[in-house]
Amino acid sequence: MVDENSTGIWVIGEEKEGKLAPVTLELLTIGRQLADSLRQELVVVIIGHQLEHMSRLLVDYGPDKILLVAGEETRYFIPETYSEVLSALVEQRKPFAILFPATYDGRDVAARLAAKLGVGLAADCTDLKIDEAGRFVQVRPAFGGNLMAVIHQPTARPQLATLRPRMVKPNKSGRKVSPSVEYIKPRISAKPFTKSLLRTVREVAEESGNLDEAEVVIGVGRGIGSSENMRIVNHLATLLKAAIGGSRGVVDAGWLPHTQQIGLTGRVISPKMYLALGISGAVQHLVGVRTAKEIIAINKDPEAPIFKVATFGIVADMFSVIPLLAKELEPPAPQTT
């Protein structure tokens, strides 16, 4: 079943409303390392509608080839059609491995492609590498991050993996070779079913950022007390350019939308800094922030378990800390004469 001639590391980029998701550049950075170790080419595939401006966003991150699949049929993300497009390309060009972002869309299309091709898929990886024997190795957490599994895919090609956002820093490759760019028209077969996107709704303000992408995430616990009190947190978030997430209690109370819940039944995030305000630190919450580089805890209960994982903490009421911190961070008021 293994096609020994399969070659090339492919990265499936994510494009939304004309913008490239940062995780695409992270995938290219790790993809370049894999391709160099194997002396294979690195190919980036973007599927969408109007993609002419994409090449210049990608070129510095080291792809040997840029495939732009652009057409009316792929204007909106529909995993059933995106996986069909990719399946046709894979059958034709036989890559060695394909990397997807572990985002809502990335997981959807990767799973459908894996099932369509009958190949393996390692989900939500935190590290991807090539071992001494030239094998593709995937490392992924399970059991709420309590266990790490090292995975190989010896029996089928291509080998698929989704990588969590923020696992590597996007790195310009410094290569002088300019990649070839190829435009491909999507071909979609008639289906026995229909599926359509009726509307896209944004519930989180653009400036409050994406939990996957933000360097700083502020986590809010039930102690915030009301949705009105979220205003002072919003102000702090603006000063820190932070995204705001919260515990299950805050989401269940309706003070934050469901998209912002962090933890076992919410999202797993890896910011540079997690600022936990009035978060007690139940296991169910902590599994969502284990890969944060720094955890800053502010809680009035000195016994709160969050302090056990904090890199810095203040035992104090968040309502007394937030205004003081905001004042420290505010730009000095203009001098009046």
């Binding site: 985002t103 809502y104 869309d105 997981r107 959807d108 799973a111 459908r112 894996a114 099932a115 369509k116 009958g118 393996g120 898929l121 390692a122 989900a123 399970a142 059991f143 709420g144 309590n146 266990l147 790490m148 090292v150 995975i151 190989h152 895919q153 026995p192 079913f193 229909t194 599926k195 359509s196 996107l197 009726l198 896209t200 944004r202 519930e203 994406n210 996957d212 360097e215 820190l240 939308p257 469901h258 998209t259 076992l264 039944t265 800094m273 720094e294 800053i296 302090f307 056990k308 994982v309 904090a310 810095f312 903490g313 203040i314 035992v315 007394s320 800390v321 003081l324 911190l325 420290e328």
Partner: protein, 263 residues
């Protein structure tokens, strides 16, 4: 309307501890539960049946003790429970699991399939969409609201995204994966729990779903776990200041933010 709900018995992840000496996972004494996301799936199936009629079959692949998870589904109110259990199924990865479930679902009959958005032990979110692909149907993942339209045989659902949701319409048969935002699952009464224990969990083996040894379980799996280890996370030890001199503590925090180049 034939609804199939795919469920899994999982260890209660919140109860798992790491042995501090051996750095291994302590699973002894950790209770097995119905995967929390599957509860939302079962609950939604019950609500759809209440509104539109039909039957609900809960299906699970696992060892014999996974019957317990299916008893919970019966106690919640599903009509029928099927356990796929066979030595042939052991060691399955997501592909082999999806293949086994898809073959069983084909035998059971379906108009709508609902799964949890992920299992809290494996955490892949892959089995649902893979089943949909294998059965040649559309899927809507990360669902937070569902409307079934019987005349047009279609589903309209809100699919959670990183910053909001998409409204998606798909024809049935269709597969959905449930998030926590979908509903609040009912808690079965003691009476219902006792009644469920008297009900039958049907057993299906590889031969019953027409699965060959090499296409399911470990031989059918495309991924192999070659090693597992417990990761080292920070265990605190950071400076914790009290509120005695709050302005000072806040100034220290600001210095930290500066050092990390956040401000």
């Amino acid at each position: 309307m034939r609804i199939v709900v795919c469920v899994k018995q999982v260890p209660d992840v919140a109860e798992i501890r790491i042995d501090e000496v051996t750095h291994t996972l302590v699973r002894a004494g950790v209770p097995s539960i119905l995967n929390p996301f599957d509860e939302f799936a079962v609950e939604e199936a019950l609500r759809i049946r209440e509104k539109h009629g039909g039957t609900i079959t809960a299906v699970s692949m696992g060892p014999l003790q996974a019957k317990e998870a299916l008893f919970k589904c019966l106690a919640m109110g599903v009509d029928r429970a099927v356990l796929l259990t066979d030595v042939f199924f052991a060691g399955a990865d997501t592909w082999a699991t999806a293949k086994t479930l898809a073959m069983a679902i084909q035998k059971l009959g379906y108009d709508l399939i609902i799964c949890g958005m992920k299992a809290v032990d494996g955490e892949t979110s892959q089995v649902g969409p893979e089943i949909a692909e294998l059965l040649g149907m559309p899927h809507i993942s990360y669902v937070k609201r569902v409307e079934v339209e019987m005349e047009s045989k279609s589903i309209t659902a809100e699919r959670m995204t990183e910053q909001g949701y998409q409204l998606i319409r798909a024809t049935m048969p269709c597969l959905l994966t449930a998030t926590k935002a979908l509903n609040v699952p009912r808690i079965p009464t003691l009476l219902h729990q006792m009644a469920a224990k008297k009900k039958n969990v049907e057993i299906m083996k590889a031969v019953d779903i027409g699965a060959q040894r090499e296409e399911v379980g470990l031989p059918g799996s495309r991924t192999q776990v070659t090693k597992v280890y417990t990761p080292q996370y920070r265990t605190g030890g950071g400076t914790i200041l009290t509120s005695e001199n709050l302005p000072n503590a806040v100034a220290t925090l600001k210095e930290l933010l500066k050092k990390e180049r956040i401000v």
